[in-house]
Amino acid sequence: MEAIVNQLPIGLSIGAVLLLIALGLTFTFGQMGVINMAHGEFIMAGAYTAYLLQDWAGRQAVIVALPVAFGVAGLMGLVLERAAIRHFYGRPLDTLLLTWGVSLVLQQAARDLFGAPNVQVQAPSWLQGGIGILPYNRLFIMALAIGSVVAVWAYMSRTSQGRRMRAVMQNRQLAAVMGINTGRVDQRTFFIGSGLAGIAGVALTLIGPVGPALGTYYIVDAFLVVVAGGLGQLRGAVIAAVALGLLNSYAEFWTNASLAKVIVFVAIIAFLQVRPQGLFVLRSRALT
């Protein structure tokens, strides 16, 4: 019984990880229709940022790295957007292939820069230990996820930049007609979306491996969260991440890890039968 109760916080913490890795995607995928397969490699860039910062920040590198990784991954995203993706707007499926090529190149670059073996990022000593089954580092990730969601929500609904972003997302032409520089908004969106991937990468160093293949472990899950939540829907992503986390946690508890993954996939396919556009849908009268 205790074990069953334990799975609840475990499920929530899995949900928090899913949310962190998917949050950036709700921007780039949801708002701009860009299917960024290199999102996983931006996560990886965040993790390596924490690794590199250890040289002078020591065990506090994880904390110091949060803003730095946001900037590093964000800049990488910005470069990608400027150099390539901006030629692809309106061809979302093509961006998938393009960014997949980018992700291959970035993986190989990481292998050459940092070596093929995993590197180690030491967790701050104050994150050791925990309450019951929940370690402090999991709590930290949950807090980080909540903080990121609040920040994103505030940005989207309380700032003029956020309002412009929503306007472009809902109707690009109309927004442009209103005098919004959509290109500028796209850059900003991509910077923030990629930057959030960097933050996720730093958080993941607490619980997982840091190596060139890091991104590939998370990318499919991240997409599923966004798809289940509905494109560009912040609350959709939150609910989907938590639901999938809990489902994963209990499915794995009663069966095994392999079967749990299959159950999650099947659940999403079944769910899309009921709601083909995800949990929340952006209403549009546009004829497709």
């Binding site: 995928f29 229709g33 299917i35 390539a84 030629h87 692809f88 707007y89 309106g90 061809r91 979302p92 499926l93 093509d94 998938l96 292939l97 393009l98 997949w100 090529g101 980018v102 992700s103 291959l104 190149v105 993986q107 190989q108 670059a109 050459d112 690009r172 032409q173 442009a176 499919v220 997409f223 599923l224 798809v227 494109l231 392999s258 079967l259 993954k261 299959v262 996939f265 099947v266 999403i268 396919i269 899309l272 039968q273 083909p276 556009q277 995800g278 004829l287 497709t288």
Partner: protein, 368 residues
């Protein structure tokens, strides 16, 4: 928004033959097809050493899958990232037959070391080669019909369909790996000896298999081309370019898409069945997210809007991967990645689109 229309919406490549085109333009296609067929069926088997011919046979198997992707994605706009699943179904059906045949009434080797004591009922019918080959095509077709009916009725499309099929590929791999006693786990099925009494290791057998693969590809290409040029094909393109509009006209896009998806799945299944004796292995690694994506990329590189482009892309990318990795064992991923990025950015309609544009460019210069 002006840029958004570019690429996705307009058709390029081979326009349907019409009375308006001059006779030499109409003959160009059949002439090229014949030339390539002669090259593939006569010249290649004579000119290439057995190892390279085997590799070419492998690329052609992929080209069959690519043909299906060209149909579903290029013509129908359904970006399927799970084509490896159908390929794998066909491959496993064939692999199971070969394994049972080699075992000759005993248990296949991997079952012995996986602790299976009795042949699982699922395996029993695959002892029959006719059933195995029929299943290699019918299995994927039925699965695609089921999936297509579920998904397209609900109007799941675009990126959702892509991610969904990708998840399907990921889930299938995990399932296959987890059932080691049934499927050989990560190892997959390998170590085959004999196909219909022919020694699979012999060069002649491999040459024969190559010819079969090439002939099947040629045949399927003609069938697919006929399909595209038919009324059904025009409807398919119309759905790609404006699904709602087609629905308003009284057609049922879901049926058209489902049928196309099933045809492409059947092609992938057949390709998988041919692949197994050619390459000698089928394993989950061949049907996961990455190989499925690689095939789609190949189609994009070749030129998705024409079937010939899809075939060309599969062969070019297969060849590029082999030779890049042979030449630069350490850094070939850079080259492969760079090739995608550059083709996608510079030639969004692929190599064939590029060729078509170069052709268009010349006379227009002359006029100017």
């Amino acid at each position: 928004m002006t840029a958004t229309v570019r690429g996705e919406r307009d058709t390029v490549g081979l326009a349907p033959p019409g009375p308006g085109r001059p006779w030499h333009a109409r003959l160009l296609g059949p002439a090229a097809f014949t030339a390539i067929a002669v090259l593939a069926l006569v010249v290649a088997p004579l000119a290439l050493e057995p190892f390279r011919l085997g590799l070419l046979a492998k690329y052609l198997c992929y080209a069959i899958v690519a043909l299906g992707i060209g149909l579903a994605w290029g013509q129908g706009g359904m970006l399927t990232l799970g084509q490896g699943v159908f390929f794998g179904l066909g491959g496993y059906a064939m692999g199971m037959y070969l394994k049972l045949h080699d075992a000759g009434g005993h248990l296949p080797d991997f079952m012995v070391w996986s602790g299976v004591e009795k042949l699982p009922p699922l395996w029993v019918p695959f002892g029959n080669p006719v059933f195995a080959i029929a299943f290699a095509v019918a299995g994927p077709v039925l699965l695609a019909l089921l999936l297509g009916t579920l998904v397209f009725r609900q109007r799941v499309r675009g990126a959702y369909f892509a991610i969904l099929t990708q998840a399907l590929a990921a889930a299938t791999v995990i399932l296959l790996v987890g059932q080691q006693g049934l499927t050989g786990g990560t190892n997959g099925l390998t170590n085959f000896f004999d196909l219909f009494g022919q020694d699979l290791a012999a060069d002649e057998t491999q040459r024969g298999l190559y010819l079969v693969v090439a002939a099947v590809l040629g045949l399927l290409y003609l069938v697919a081309r006929q399909l595209v040029r038919s009324r059904f094909g025009r409807l398919l393109v119309a759905i790609r370019d404006g699904e709602d509009r087609v629905r308003f006209l009284g057609y049922d896009p879901a049926t058209v898409k489902t049928v196309t998806f099933a045809v492409s799945a059947g092609m992938a299944g057949l390709a998988g069945a041919l692949f197994v004796p050619v390459v000698g292995i089928i394993s989950p690694a061949l049907l996961g997210v990455v190989p499925s994506l690689e095939l789609v990329v190949a189609v994009a590189v070749g030129g998705r809007f024409s079937l010939a482009g899809a075939v060309l892309g599969a062969v070019v990318m297969g060849y590029a991967k082999t030779s890049f990795s042979e030449q630069f064992a350490d850094g070939w991923l850079y080259l492969q990645g760079a090739l995608f990025i550059l083709v996608m950015t510079l030639a969004p309609k692929g190599l064939l689109g590029l060729a078509a544009r170069a052709r268009d460019l010349l006379p227009s210069r002359r006029r100017a």
